[in-house]
Amino acid sequence: MSNADADGPDDTRTEGTPRADGAGAVAGELAEPDHDHEFPGMGSIRRWFVTTNHKDVGILYVVTSLFFLLFGGVLALLIRTQLWVPGGTVLDGLAYNQAVSAHGLIMVFWFLSPFAFGIANYVIPLQIGAKDLAFPRLNALSYWLYLFSGLLLMVSFFQGASFSGGWTMYAPLNVPVYTPHIGASTAILALTMFTASVTVGSVNFITTIHRMRAPGLTMWNLPLFTWSILLTVWMMLFAFAALLAALVILSSDRLLGTTYFAAQSAGGSLLWAHLFWFFGHPEVYIVFFPALGAMAEVFQTFTGRRLVGRKYFIGAMLLVAIQSFMVWMHHMFLTSINLEIKTLFMATTIGISLPFDLMVFALIYTMLKGDIRFETPFLFAFGGLVLFILGGITGVFLGAVVLDYEFRGTYWVVAHFHYVMVGGVTGLIAAIYYWFPKMTGKLYDEFLGKVNFVLYFVGFNLLYFPMFLAWETPRRVFDYRPEYIPWHRLSTVGAFLLGLSFLVLIYNLYISYLDGADADGNPWKYATTAEWAVPSPPPLENFDGLPSYEDGNLTFRSESAGRGGEAAADGGRTDTPRSADGGAVVTAPETGVVAKTSHEEHASHASIWPFVAGAASFVVLVGLSGLQQGSFPSGAAGGFYAGTTLVGGGLLLYGFVRMAAERFHGPTMAMAERWPFAGVDNMKTGMWVFLASDVVLFGAFIGSYVFIRVAEGWTNWHHLIPADHVVLPGLINTYLLLTSSFAVVLALVFAERNNRLGVVASLIATVGLGVGFLINKALEWNHLFHVHSEAFPNGWELSTNVASSTFYLTTGLHGAHVTVGLIIALYMIVRAWNGAYLDDEAPIEQFGLYWHFVDIVWLFLFPLFYIL
């Protein structure tokens, strides 16, 4: 898989002042503006709003996720306080349901993965030898969407009530009939926004890890933490696309009045379960894999031994990532799905436990073969392994159909998934202790770390193990049999102990950051990966040279040599040879002097527009939360929500246009390992990866339509559709879109021929045809809204039936894609008129990829919604 190749401009955009060593650079970084002339120093608040640097964004993620940990933790303590006695009265019913729902949502979405990705943001580019992620502004945008989505969830508590139907949001509890408050809609929109953040982040990490690895760093030699993150983002890309589809449909049901999940809809509640768990089961591994990768790194470092069966361990992770999409129906054994499919999914579920067995034994055997040092990171990693084993074994019970009939909906499930999910948290605490010295340049307090572990491990087991014993307690209900009182009280005591352990963790990190002993580049005796070969914390652009593994060990080449592709080691060469995969011990380089030319263009690190786009998205969604049945309520409240939507929409458009127009130099690597996307530049790779997630998004929409139609009776469908719904408008729109695709291709041909007017004319034709498509659709919809027939005396509107709901929402989503494409095309027309694209037609090709994809989607919508 090693195929380091050169493409694109060089990546050497560091400023011209040579540094004697990295540590000096760090000191300078703290005291004064960084060498990016628009980039403020770390002491400036402005820096944290404009930064796009992966290390800064990583710290923002970690700090923000810890805030949400406290938020979700306080809710958990409220729940446990309520359960001190059966039928507790601390919270009323609605408040308890909100606390349970928000606790689950916050911990799973706003704490666990963001905490892991904060660490990943910081560490991954360092581990693979990159200066940043492939798209730094998208990385910042991903963070701001995450932060503002969390704020939006908090706003939901002030709009009557937040969502109260449980974190799984089962239908029909998730529709306004059962959860009528505006805040419930806001919570759904907040999760939708979070999903957008995850998608943006996934595209970024996939592109980065596949295309920006140091020369010689083949896939097999990737550090295990990087492997785990790579597989996590691949799972995220597909799983979150399905969740996005579910949430968009649910938002439509709540805000526009479609009827997908209404109680009376054929298969409505089952449809939600399918969509949610197609996402939800991979989500278990999405949450756990980063912890697993971190645990593997910690095990290697603190046993002084390479992971036993390393390649098999990677293979097992790969297998689990694939299998995770084949087990979702084991969450639905108590529904009306047929026995054949239950049996099949029982088999696949038991099958997924096998690769995990291999991973667990690899970790255990590494301990047996190694020389263990019981320092805080290892204690947490080892604790995480023990807890995960317990969680895994108790999960196998739930994978068996017969046992699941007993356990589903009880505290057995609650105990099991907390052992798995919070077992993952245990691994991530190991990770934060492990990489804390790298991130801050300070050593944590070892004594406090051990106190933290003891409190944590005792509190954890005191909290969750009694739940197995009181397993017949019904889930999400604050009443239970009196004989369970002792177990529930033990749980509550354990909950407060666990909460205290997190306060010790945060206190330890805080005082260590302020007063801890200085950490050198590599504070661990047997650390093996590249991040330990640079100072702690690393300089702004990570490496004073181009990292390379081409001779089998990590070396640093001069920038100019790197551009020429010569294997010239310079003063940055490390003292001790090291490999990426844990084969040798690393030490920090003594020197990092690199010759740089004065005319080198340096990378950009500052942009305010990701923050603006995130804030504007928040404003838009606050406004949209006020929609009911497709319109804003009358009066001042309606005016507020409508006005907020308009202002937010305008700001969002402005933010994206300014971001597009901004001169920004992201990192590209002249020489890098790029398997399997060699020969495709970063931008195009990112676009294709995004389109892959869009395939799943539209696939889930089309799948929902197919599912509902099968539930209704495939050929017993047309009575739900008025006779006025005919083929011709769809056919005309097919012609219009096909022709517009041809026009985009012509724009590309004209750009290659340096024909400016041809490019402009082709793009204008594209826009004209796209507008024609939308006008035709608007005319068709308007006609269908107002049909009058015996079967449809009040027209055929979104809420008329499931056929109208699926038709309007699916073609509407497609129309929204067309609209976004038209906005981009209009922007490109202006640029083309000014002569852009003649020397570089890549943007037209990238736009074309999107536009043609929209065309392809229509090629399926046309027969499904107009002919069949």
């Binding site: 499919i341 399997p676 020969g679 799943v696 696939g699 889930a700 041809f742 994809f853 046309f862 069949l868």
Partner: protein, 89 residues
């Protein structure tokens, strides 16, 4: 054949195939042999999608990894649709 001629030929093919799909409906085949007509129409849609992806999106000339990527996404969507629909039969 130059790229422009190829693109033009593909456009004509796509246009014709879309028309054929509509003609299948207009001939009344859906009333007489629904599932045969269903098969023809969906196969034509897949052919059109392959033509657009292969030639307009240049997948034919790109590294195979991109084709694999899109195939995986399509398989995920089909797995969800197929298994979910089967579960209620």
């Amino acid at each position: 054949m130059s790229r422009l001629k190829l693109y033009t030929a593909m456009y004509i093919v796509l246009f014709v195939l879309a028309t054929v799909q509509a003609l299948v409906e207009m001939t009344g085949m859906l009333e007489t042999a629904y599932w045969t007509a269903f098969g023809i129409i969906m196969v034509l849609s897949f052919l059109k999608a392959l033509a657009v992806a292969g030639y307009y999106q240049h997948l034919r000339w790109e590294p195979r990894s991109l084709t694999v990527l899109m195939t995986l996404a399509l398989l995920a969507a089909l797995a969800l649709t197929g298994a979910a629909s089967y579960s209620i039969l």
